[in-house]
């Protein structure tokens, strides 16, 4: 990674870490994970299941929320504070600025996910008294959540590169919701006919598919996740994110900043 890119990446990370909202969310997630054993007191024989569902869902959801709320301000905040002009007046290319912002936010999210994972496993250890080999499958679900963040960060950055923070948040959240129902959209496309089929199929591939990245219910029931699925999901998330980041770069390259 060149020095300009790494400088923007690290600065984005530092800025995000200094952000109070970020700390609040981490504390909230840790509280939620810690309270899961309390929730399970009111149910029978579900202690571990509730903890896993609450913990993994929190990691995924809060990661996405962080990605959206930090991501929407990545470009607009720099324009608002006029720091963007200082950056771009130096020998920094626009694509380096966007890519640096992306990697910086991803770094923040990866660190967040790591902290949340630690909290989750501590809660699991407290609940069970021991960590079993089957508990390692939870890491696959967390890894898939990180892939989800990869895509969500790219999407937020794309919207952030041309619209206001509020609209970027609305668009990103809407796409996240659509992405969670991507399987339904493709089932619909498969059953449709004629032009509707083509349109629905196009839309189904254009929106992110988060359905295949959600394996929380399966790992909660100790179900095996195929190696192939991990590999293909990784390839999908990387390629899709790359396509979206390139689109963001193309838009930002042509944006009039005067």
């Amino acid at each position: 990674m060149n020095t300009r890119l790494s400088a923007i990446t690290l600065n984005t990370f530092r800025e995000a870490v200094r952000d109070r909202v970020l700390y609040n969310l981490i504390i909230f997630v840790l509280l939620l994970v810690a309270s899961a054993p309390l929730f399970s007191q009111i149910s029978i024989g579900m202690q571990r299941l509730i903890l896993v569902n609450v913990g993994l869902s929190s990691i995924s959801l809060f990661g996405v929320i962080i990605a959206i709320f930090i991501g929407i301000g990545l470009v607009s905040k720099e324009i608002e504070k006029r720091t963007l002009y200082t950056i771009l007046s130096r020998p920094v290319r626009r694509w380096e600025f966007i890519a640096g912002k992306y990697f910086g936010l991803m770094m923040t999210l990866a660190v967040n996910a790591g902290l949340m994972t630690l909290g989750f496993y501590i809660a699991l250890f407290i609940t069970q008294g021991v960590l079993k080999p089957a508990d390692a499958w939870m890491l696959v679900s967390i890894y898939f959540s990180v892939l989800e963040f990869l895509m969500m960060t790219a999407i937020t950055l794309l919207f952030s590169s041309f619209s206001s923070p509020i609209f970027a948040a609305i668009f990103s959240f809407a796409l996240f919701v659509i992405g969670t129902f991507a399987d339904d959209l493709r089932n619909f496309a498969a059953l449709a006919q004629g032009v509707t089929k083509w349109l629905a199929t196009g839309a189904a591939y254009a929106v992110p598919n988060f359905a295949s990245l959600n394996v929380i219910s399966r790992v909660a029931h100790d179900q095996h996740i195929a190696g192939k699925l991990i590999l293909y999901n990784t390839a999908y998330a990387l390629l899709y994110s790359a396509a979206v980041v390139i689109a963001a770069i193309l838009i930002f390259e042509r944006r009039n900043l005067k």
Binding site: D184, F188, Y205, S212, A243
Partner: protein, 301 residues
Amino acid sequence: MKQTRKNIATAALLLVGCFAGSVFALRAVDESRGNEATLEEVLYLPSSKMLKRLSLGYSGLLADIYWTRAVQYFGSKHLQHSQRYDLLYPLLDIATDLDPHIIVAYEYGSVFLAQQPPEGAGEPDKAVALIQKGIRENPKYWRLYFNLGFVHYIDRNDPRAAQEAFEKGSEVPGALPWMKVMAARMAEHSKDPGTAAALWEGVLQTSSDHSVQNTAKLHLDSLKADLDIQELERRIQIYRERTGSLPADWAAMERTGLLHGIPLDPNRAPYKLLADGKVEVQDASKYPYLGEWLYNQERPY
């Protein structure tokens, strides 16, 4: 300037390449997921009460999604000629819990549930439970009583319960007068295939869905063919009593005056006369419910 254009073109090419790659990767993801699909995962959340809370007030939207999933599930199983439709009732139950006024789910869902496999789930009792739930939630919708009477009569072979359903339905303000007629027919001609035909005719006339209309037509054709075959075999017995042998062809029957012309099935194809005096249709695939009525008559309900 030239360099910038080149960079943009490269970036655009990369974008297209990455997006195309993501489509292929997603297809590979689908293949590796195999049969494990959304529908199987749906039931990890079998509680509609929990779903209703999670929907944050958008339970109507969620109900539509569940109803769509039920239709997709039924459609895909139907195409596979499946003998089992395990998730159909839970999906319908969740959809109708989320939105108790989703009438189509009761009307068509009960048809999907009641028919024998592979045409349906073969669970008429669950179909009855679904319609009764619909009636509880929508007491003014008289057509649900028709659906209830229909399932009781056709799929459960319980004319008394069917009569009760038609009678109750006829008391709902706005119900068509033929609900009373149907109740009377249940009482008088409970084992009459003509009554069954009248019920299917009712479905054909009242349904706006193409696939339901098609099913009703197949049932009507099969019933008509059943009645024709019964009548033809009765006449063959008369021929045998008169001549001491079975007819070699339809022409032999015509000569004795027992028939006027070659008998044709509802699809205008001539019936087949077998050597043992039995009668069959030319193309059985056009009559998937052939013999069902006779089978139903013998069921000890």
